[in-house]
Amino acid sequence: MRQEPQVITVWVRLVFITAIALLVAQSVFIHKYGEPYPTITMPSFKGSGGFQNGRVKIIRYEAVFIANGEEFSFKPKVLLEKFPDSHIAEISQSLMPTPAVGVTKATPTGRLSRLRDIVFPGYGARRKSQDSPAYIASLKDWLRSRGRELVPDRPVSRVEIRWYWEIFSMDGNTLKSERVPIDIRVVTFHGEPR
């Protein structure tokens, strides 16, 4: 049975024109200010993922919990095991020595940026409050509680987030790696009750 073509009304055309206009506007917005949520986009996997001149250079860290002079080292995946895998890299920015590497959010300079900060006070929270006592205290509390879980029955006195570049290259059929230290974020627990 052949079906009659459905009539395309003015409203339908309007819906499509609006959709296309919004998609274009969203692209311009992302290009200028970074990605908001929600938007109609897919993961970009921009750039070469650290590949350059036959080598891959990536930034990494290990979380070292120190108790009685003894070191207990954990990978990010273990430290942040309570959060989904996909969030680990982004959350890790909060553990960087200041300021966070790779943070691309615009700083408030113009009138538009000030308006943005009034309407969206939570935007750029990490950048804005990374040095504030409340921010540091919340990070310290969390690391302290992770210390109790990861190194039970040991008095953790300090946590060192040791950041380094890891440079990978192929040597024949083998993957070689080389470490170059960057910086360490040290969080100390004074008077930690046991």
Binding site: S44, S48, R60, S86, Y135
Partner: protein, 363 residues
């Protein structure tokens, strides 16, 4: 003259997306099942995050300065369970579609308030768009309460709009790659991201481990170019359902590759692709007969209670039904998508015709 050409193109593009309401209704049931069993709860882990991790993008979560209390997230998840159950049984389908979409946006806004956006937006726009398609016209309480006149054709524009959104979303990924080095013969971008994902994120797959040892510029450059080409062609393909379905079939295989190499099961894309499958053409569906009205009502009632219970249970326990049962559901969905993709590529190419295929379905 120009206006005639545009109108003809427009009519042809829209007409190619003509679909049976039955197909979309079957998809509605599959979609709602996925949400109930695999998506709920969203952001149940957020209360474990300290204030220091809070860093939302511009959007609903950035209206606040801290993550919400656990009770807010629980309430939103319970609401999502209710709307998804209504969508499953087709009770007030339009309201349920909008409810699912908007609750997903609210919950995902919080889930991404630590700075990472997971790009499952197609899962969200699907009910918001198809809510206008008539996907509640079959297999639903609505169809029992308000029997419609004899027309099993869905509205053509919602599937066409969904195709446009899917095409555009994929295009954005392709464009971002094309303009940041993926076309540069000197770079191995897939390889670079694989190393990062394997060693930094810690997604260590067997295939990824093997692939890391491949030291071939040609191999990795082909992977780069293929990825960019696939993602960029999605947008023009969206103007014709047949071309678009071919793109979806290749994309399903691409997602399987991503799963094997990167351990990223992108089921949030595979599920929306299901809106473009002709389920009633499948022999297993064609031979199904619905029971009489009384048995149907009883079945719907049981289904409603069972799915609502599952959704509420998942929200309260803070773990999805499939996670509780230790079922790798996302991975299974990606594999099913790939199988359907392979199964449809060859018939599509063999029976290729420039005419819209929908006219054949009615016969």
């Amino acid at each position: 003259m120009t206006i005639h050409v545009i109108r003809a193109f427009e009519a042809r593009a829209f007409e190619s997306y003509r679909a049976r309401a039955e197909d979309l209704s079957i998809f509605r049931v599959l979609y709602a099942t996925f949400i109930i069993c695999n998506v709920i709860p969203i952001a149940a882990w957020l209360p474990l995050a300290p204030q220091a991790f809070f860093d939302p993008p511009i959007g609903p979560a950035a209206l606040f300065t801290a993550p919400p209390p656990a009770i807010v997230l629980l309430s939103l998840n319970l609401l999502l369970a209710l709307f998804a159950t209504m969508l499953l049984v087709g009770w007030m389908t339009s309201l349920a579609s909008a409810g699912v979409g908007l609750t997903l946006i609210a919950l995902d806004s919080w889930a991404y308030s630590l700075g990472k956006i997971n790009h499952d937006i197609l899962l969200i726009v699907t009910p918001l768009v198809l809510g206008f398609s008539g996907w509640g016209r079959n297999l639903s309480i609505d169809s029992i309460r308000f029997p419609l006149a004899e027309s099993d054709q869905a509205a053509v524009w919602p599937p066409a709009l969904l195709a446009l959104l899917v095409g555009f979303a994929m295009f954005t990924a392709g464009w971002a790659k094309a303009t940041t080095g993926w076309l540069n013969p000197q770079l191995r971008c897939t390889y670079g991201h694989l190393v990062y994902n394997y060693l930094h994120t810690g997604r260590e797959t067997w295939v990824g481990c093997l692939a890391l040892r491949i030291d071939s510029a040609w191999f990795w450059k082909t992977a780069d170019w293929f990825t960019v080409a696939l993602e960029l062609t999605f947008l023009p393909a969206a103007f014709d359902r047949k071309l678009f379905r071919l793109s979806l079939a290749f994309a399903s295989l691409f997602h399987l590759g991503v799963l094997l190499l990167f351990d990223i099961p992108f089921s949030a894309n595979i599920v929306p692709y299901g809106a473009f499958v002709s389920y009633t053409g499948l022999p297993c569906v064609r031979n199904l007969r619905l029971p009489d009205l009384r048995s149907r009502l009883k079945m719907v009632y049981i289904l409603f209670v069972a799915s609502l219970t599952l959704g509420l249970l998942a929200a309260l326990l803070g773990e999805s039904v499939t996670d509780l049962l230790r079922i790798p559901f996302d991975e299974i969905v990606v594999w099913i998508g790939a199988v359907i993709g392979v199964g449809s590529i060859f018939p599509m190419l063999i029976h290729w015709s420039p005419r819209p295929d929908v006219l054949k379905i009615g016969g």
